[in-house]
Symmetry: C2
Subunit: 343 residues, 2 copies
Amino acid sequence: MKQLKLALMGFGNVGQAFGEMLLDKHEEIQNKYGRDVAVTVIATATKGNIYNEEGINLRRVLEDVKETGRFDARMTTDMDHDRLIREADYDCLMELSPLNIETGQPATDHLIGAITRGKHGITANKGPVAWHFRKLRDMAEENRVGFFYETVVMDGTPVFNLVEHTLKMVRVTQVTGILNSTTNFILEELEKGCDMDDIMARGRAMGFIEADPAMDIEGYDAAGKITALLNVLMDAGITPDQVERKGIEDITVEDIADAKARGKVIKLLCRGTRDEQGNVIATVGPEEIPRDHMLASMNSTTSVVSITTDLMKTVSVVEHEPEIMQTAYGVFSDMLRVMELEG
Amino acid sequence: MKQLKLALMGFGNVGQAFGEMLLDKHEEIQNKYGRDVAVTVIATATKGNIYNEEGINLRRVLEDVKETGRFDARMTTDMDHDRLIREADYDCLMELSPLNIETGQPATDHLIGAITRGKHGITANKGPVAWHFRKLRDMAEENRVGFFYETVVMDGTPVFNLVEHTLKMVRVTQVTGILNSTTNFILEELEKGCDMDDIMARGRAMGFIEADPAMDIEGYDAAGKITALLNVLMDAGITPDQVERKGIEDITVEDIADAKARGKVIKLLCRGTRDEQGNVIATVGPEEIPRDHMLASMNSTTSVVSITTDLMKTVSVVEHEPEIMQTAYGVFSDMLRVMELEG
C-alpha cells in the first residue's frame, strides 16, 4: 500500500494528540483513502529528534514520552532540524512547534524548506499565515503542493475550509470574531465577581492560560488570528502589526459592572472589513455587546467567526469549549486534504 | 464551450432568485469552471412550461414574470411535466416546486425520473430527503450522478456540505437545532408582549409566515428538517412521522412570562441522538433555555444547527435572518457541485 510519510516538527500536546488520533483511525484511513500513513520524522526542541524512513513506531514513542517526557535515546538521531527538513524522506511537513508570533519563525522557514523540496506543508502555527501568507501560498502553487492551515483559527473547526469548500464563489466582505479564549474567559469570570489572581490560577490549571498571558491579554494572539483570517479569506496581504490593536488590560471591574447595568457584556472583538480604497482594515478591541446578541452568548473558552459575503449574507461558525483533540483534528483534516490532492 | 443544461421544476421566488444569480455570475462561472450554464426547461404549475434545448432566454422570462406573473405564451410548450422530465434535453434537474411535506411528492418522482435517465438531481424541497433519502441516494449512486440538497436545511448555509467536505471522517453522534423561523419569530414576539394576530400579520407581510401556518406551528416543518438532517448525517433511515413531535400551539403567554421570570426562554428545539440499540431518535418540541445560552440568542428568523461528533466535539453553524438570495445560493452551490462532478 502506498504511504504518506509525515515529518512532525514539534511533539508537544498537539503532536501527541495527533499521534493518538492517527493510531485510532489508522485502519479507517487505509479503507477510505487506500493509503497508509507513516511518521518518518519527529523533531523537537527538548525531547530530541527521531528519523526512520520506514516509519517510526508511534505507539512506542507516545508511551516513552508519557512515561519519561523524552524519546528513548536509542531511537534518536543526530540530524538537526534543518538537515531533517532538507534531507529526510517525507511527503508532508507538519509544523507544530512553539510559536513566535512576532516573527512567524522558525515555522515559516520550516515550511519553505519543505515546500521548495516539493513537499506539502501543514501548519498549526498561526505565524506563517499571519506574516508570510502570500509568499507561502504562491510558493506552494509553484511547487504544485498543498499548503494547509485549518488549525490556525478555532482549531479543527472549519473556517478556511468552510469558505473554500462550502461557500464557493462567494466574495467575503467582512469578518467578525471572538478568537481569543483566554480573554473571553477572563472577562466572563471578572463579571461573575471573581478575583483576577484566582481567575489566572484556574485558567492555568485548565491549560489555556500561558505562564505569561500578555500575548493574550494585550490582544496580540487575537491580532495574529484576525490577520490570518483576512489574509486567506479577503486576500488582505497584511501583517499583525498593521492591526489596530487594543487588549483588555485597561478594562476594570467597574467597566464590566457598568456595562452589565446597561444590559451589555464586554467582549474582545476582532473585525475586518474593506475601506473605500479597497484596503482591508483589521481591528482588535473590547466592545460592549447587547446581552441578547449571539456574540454575548459566547461563554468560557467558546469562539466564533462570523463571515459576511455577497451571496450568503452572514454565516457564523462556533467552536464550543475546545479540548486538545480538536486542535489535533485540525491538522488531521489537513492531512486528509493532502491525501486527496495526491489522489 | 461545454454546457450544463438545467431543468427547473418550479419558478417561484426561489427559481427567480436563482435565475438572477445565474445571470449575475454567468461570466465568473465560465472563467472558473470553463463551462456555460443553460436553462433548457422551466416547468411550473401556474405560469406554463417552457422548453428550449438551445437554452431559454432567462432575462426575458424573468422580465415577463415580473411584469405579468406569467410566461409569454409564444414561448411556452404543450409538453407536460412528466414528458419534459422523460424526454427533454437537460443534464441536471432542479426541484423547486411547492412542497407536500406529507408525501414528499411530486418532488421525489421528478427526481427519480431524472436520476433514472442518468441526470443529476438537486432539490430545494425537503420532502424527498425526509421521506425517501436512502432510495434517492442509492439510485443516484447506481446511476453515477449527483444528488444534492443543501438548501433543505437553513438554505445555502453549509450543513450537509459542512460535514461532508470540512469534517471528514468524523462520526456524528448528535444533532440539535432551531430550524423553524416562523415559530422562533412568534415565540420572541409573544415574549415582547405582542398580540398573536398582529404577529401573524407582520410575519405574513415579511413573507415567511404562510397563509396556513399550521405546518410551522405544530412542528411539522421542523420535523421534516430534523429528519432530513438525521437521514443524511447519521444515516437514520427515518421518516417525519417517526419524529416525537410537539409544536408551540399549547404555549401560552403565561408560560413564556413564567420562563422569563426564571431567566429562561422558550424555543422550539429539534434534537436527534442514538439510543442504546443504535437507532436514531428524533424529537421536536418546546424547551426552556437559559437566557445566556447560545440557543437563546437565536432571535427573529435566525436558525442554528449544532453537530456533535467523535473527533470535533460540537460545531455550530448559524444562518442570520435569511432572505430569498440565501435560498437561491443553496441550489446555486449544489449546481457548482454538479459541475465539479462532471469535471
